[in-house]
């Protein structure tokens, strides 16, 4: 039993779908998370640009505005050169430094930066006042040395403040860099974790799906398929696997089992049929054997009766003194002969039924065979004033056939024609090639004929029809049946067309292959 056998395929399919959907959802969520992390790094970078980076830019301008070429430089030039244009320059520098400091403060200040800014602002105020004093003293004609002694501004504090700001910015740079690095590392870790988790989940899902498909679907279907193949070969010895499953494959297995049961029942039925057939064949063989033995046992005394009756009829040992004896001995001879023919027919039918008849084929002149048969019947026909008209070519055609059986065929047909034709009737023989090359020999009489539904009966064993109608004619009812079988053994067809009281036409059709080309 599979560990998942309690689940139906549909349920498991839903579970697999849910796992895959979860995987897809996790992928989307992780992508969203990573995107957010990257956005966060971007925001950090933007804040950095608007914070420390901007401060650095302002600080650079501040250094320029304060240092060489800047406010302090212009202030010193004012003292040394006492030129008022340096008042203008230094004062403008102070205005711009004020703007830069304001901008810097607006970005945001730490405590240290605030203290440094206050120092710088106070230094600016000192320079502002110093410029005014220096201007006044220069106007009064004081020397540069005198002015410098009065207006000297100590820049150490301002330099310390600038260094403090630079230090603060460096720290801010380091802190921000550390934060960004931390964020990037965290993003990397998360993305790696998500990547590995996704891989595990993806391969897990695929593996689980394949395992499930193999264990619960493919393997059972393969086993079921093999079982179906065995059943199609009518091998029902093994039970159908999977019929206990409570899922779709179980449904299939139970359906297959229905077919298997049908096969089992059919095999049982067929076995009984075979048994019945074998029983019937055994009975038939016993019957055939009995008939063959019986015929053999009958022919021996019949030959004695016929032979001795001929000796008596011929008067070999002296004439019969009484005509009645002659009449009786003729009757004995005819009855014996008829009985011998009947026995011979029965023997033939037995041989045919036991499939022991084999054709001994050779070239046969069909015209000659028909002539011989007519010669045999000529005396009887003449006695009854029956006209025998042979329209077939007496010299041919030549055919491949068993001469004895071919003779038996035409002898039976012609004998029947004469036998069932009233005195003064006609029997005619015609021979012609049909379209397609087959050879047809038809024997037509003007006898008592048969009804349409009686023809098939006449072609079956012991089927001499309408005993009442044929009552005055002797026969076992085997002749036409034997004729049909012998024609068919030659690959031909026996056709019978008849009308009651008008006559019968029997046509023997031999296939083209039987005809020997005269050329």
């Amino acid at each position: 039993m599979s560990p998942l056998s309690f689940l139906k395929i549909k349920t498991l399919t839903v579970i697999v779908a849910i796992v895959l959907a979860t995987f897809a959802g996790m992928t989307v969520l992780s992508s969203y998370y990573i995107n957010r992390q990257v956005s966060s790094v971007g925001d950090r970078w933007q804040e950095f640009r608007e914070g420390p980076a901007k401060k650095v830019a302002i600080l650079s301008d501040l250094r320029n505005a304060l240092g060489y070429g800047g406010m302090i430089h212009n202030f010193k030039n004012l003292i040394l050169r006492q030129d008022r244009k340096y008042i203008l320059k230094a004062s403008l520098d102070i205005l711009n430094i004020t703007a830069l400091l304001t901008s810097y403060q607006n970005i945001g200040l730490s405590v240290r930066e605030k203290a440094a800014m206050d120092i710088l602002d106070s230094r600016l105020t000192k320079y502002e006042k110093a410029i005014a004093v220096a201007e006044k003293m220069a106007g009064e004609g004081r020397t540069s040395k005198e002015i410098d002694a009065v207006v000297h501004v100590n820049d150490d504090l301002a330099i310390s403040a600038m260094l403090a700001i630079v230090g603060e910015l460096e720290q801010a740079y380091a802190d921000e860099g550390s934060r960004v690095e931390q964020l990037v590392a965290e993003t990397n870790r998360t993305s790696n974790t998500v990547f590995i988790a996704s891989l595990v989940l993806a391969f897990g899902s695929i593996g689980f799906t394949l395992w499930f498909m193999y264990l619960r679907v493919l393997a059972p279907i393969r086993v079921l398929s093999e079982s179906m193949q065995e059943i199609s070969r009518r091998n029902t010895s093994e039970p159908v696997p999977g019929t206990m499953r409570d899922d779709e494959i179980g449904d299939m297995a139970r359906t297959v089992e229905v077919f298997r049961n049908v096969i089992v029942e059919r095999k049982s039925f067929e076995a009984s049929l075979i048994e019945s057939r074998e029983l019937a064949e055994s009975s038939n063989r016993a019957k055939t054997d009995f008939l063959a033995n019986m015929s053999h046992e009958l022919r021996t005394p019949l030959n004695g009766i016929i032979g001795l009756s001929e000796v008596i009829r011929e008067g070999t040992f002296g004439p019969l003194e009484n005509d009645k004896y002659a009449e009786y001995i003729n009757e004995i001879h005819d009855s014996g002969s008829h009985l011998l023919a009947v026995v011979q027919n029965i023997l033939d039918v037995s041989e045919i039924d036991s499939s022991s008849v084999a054709l001994k084929e050779e070239s046969v002149n069909l015209g000659s065979v028909i002539q011989d048969c007519l010669r045999e019947l000529a005396q009887n026909a003449e006695a009854r004033n029956i006209s025998l008209r042979n329209h077939a070519d007496p010299s041919g055609p030549m055919v491949h056939a068993d001469p004895g059986r071919i003779t038996q065929i035409f002898n039976n047909v012609l004998t029947n024609a004469v036998k069932f034709t009233p005195d003064g009737g006609d029997v005619s023989i015609d021979s012609f090639f049909e379209e397609g090359g087959t050879l047809a020999i038809s024997i037509t009489d003007t006898g008592i004929g048969m009804a349409r539904d009686a023809i098939n009966e006449a072609l079956s064993p012991f089927g001499q029809v309408n005993r009442g109608h044929f009552a005055k004619h002797e026969g076992t009812g085997l002749g036409l049946y034997l004729t049909r079988i012998l024609v068919e053994m030659h690959g031909g067809v026996l056709k019978v067309k008849s009308a009651v009281d008008r006559g019968t036409r029997v046509t023997v059709i031999l296939p083209k292959e039987r005809i020997i080309d005269s050329e």
Partner: protein
């Protein structure tokens, strides 16, 4: 030259206040108000130096600010540029080159823009005074950094308007600056 230095720093500040940073430098109308207080002083000094008629000088000094409301930095800048043009007229007469008006008023104009242009006008006017006085005439006082709070663009506009009216009054009543003009433009 002082103005070149001013323009360099102004360009730096303009870059810092540009859209790329998406952050105004934070200079307020109060800072601009301080500058125009000083510019008005330079205007009075200019009238003192150039107009002999004391009545006119008294009239200029007596002029007071008007009340304005709803003004925007762009309005202030537009009027400041007009005053700058008047100063350029005087500068040309004194053989000083006119200042360049490097910025035009627009909807995005900020107080920082106005501050930078105004500091240039102050420098221009003080330079004119230096050029027209001797060393005994003190100019450092025109750069005093006043501390104002909570001034609005309308307040600044009133001061700019006062400076403009004072200069125009002097021009109209003293024959000062017979050649009117507004500088060389942008």
């Amino acid at each position: 030259m002082a103005l070149a230095r001013v323009l360099l720093i102004a360009a730096t500040l303009a870059m810092l206040s540009g859209k790329a940073w998406a952050l105004d430098l934070g200079l307020t109308p109060s800072h601009v108000y301080s500058l125009w207080t000083n510019i008005n002083r330079t205007v009075i000094e200019c009238v003192n130096l150039t107009v002999k008629d004391t009545t006119i000088v008294s009239g200029v000094k007596a002029m007071a600010t008007k009340k304005f409301t709803g003004k925007k930095p762009a309005d202030v800048l537009a009027l400041a540029l007009h005053v700058e043009g008047l100063w350029n007229t005087l500068r040309i007469q004194s053989d000083l080159p006119p200042t360049l008006q490097a910025i035009a008023p627009e909807s995005m104009t900020t107080p920082t823009d106005v501050y930078l242009e105004s500091s240039k006008i102050l420098a221009s006017s003080v330079e004119w005074i230096i050029g027209n006085t001797d060393s005994s005439h003190l100019v450092a006082g025109y750069f005093v950094r006043h501390t104002f709070k909570d001034k609005t663009p309308s307040d600044v506009y009133a001061l700019v308007d006062l400076a403009q009216r004072r200069m125009q009054f002097a021009f109209d009543h003293s024959g000062l600056a017979t050649q009117s003009g507004e500088g060389s433009g942008q």
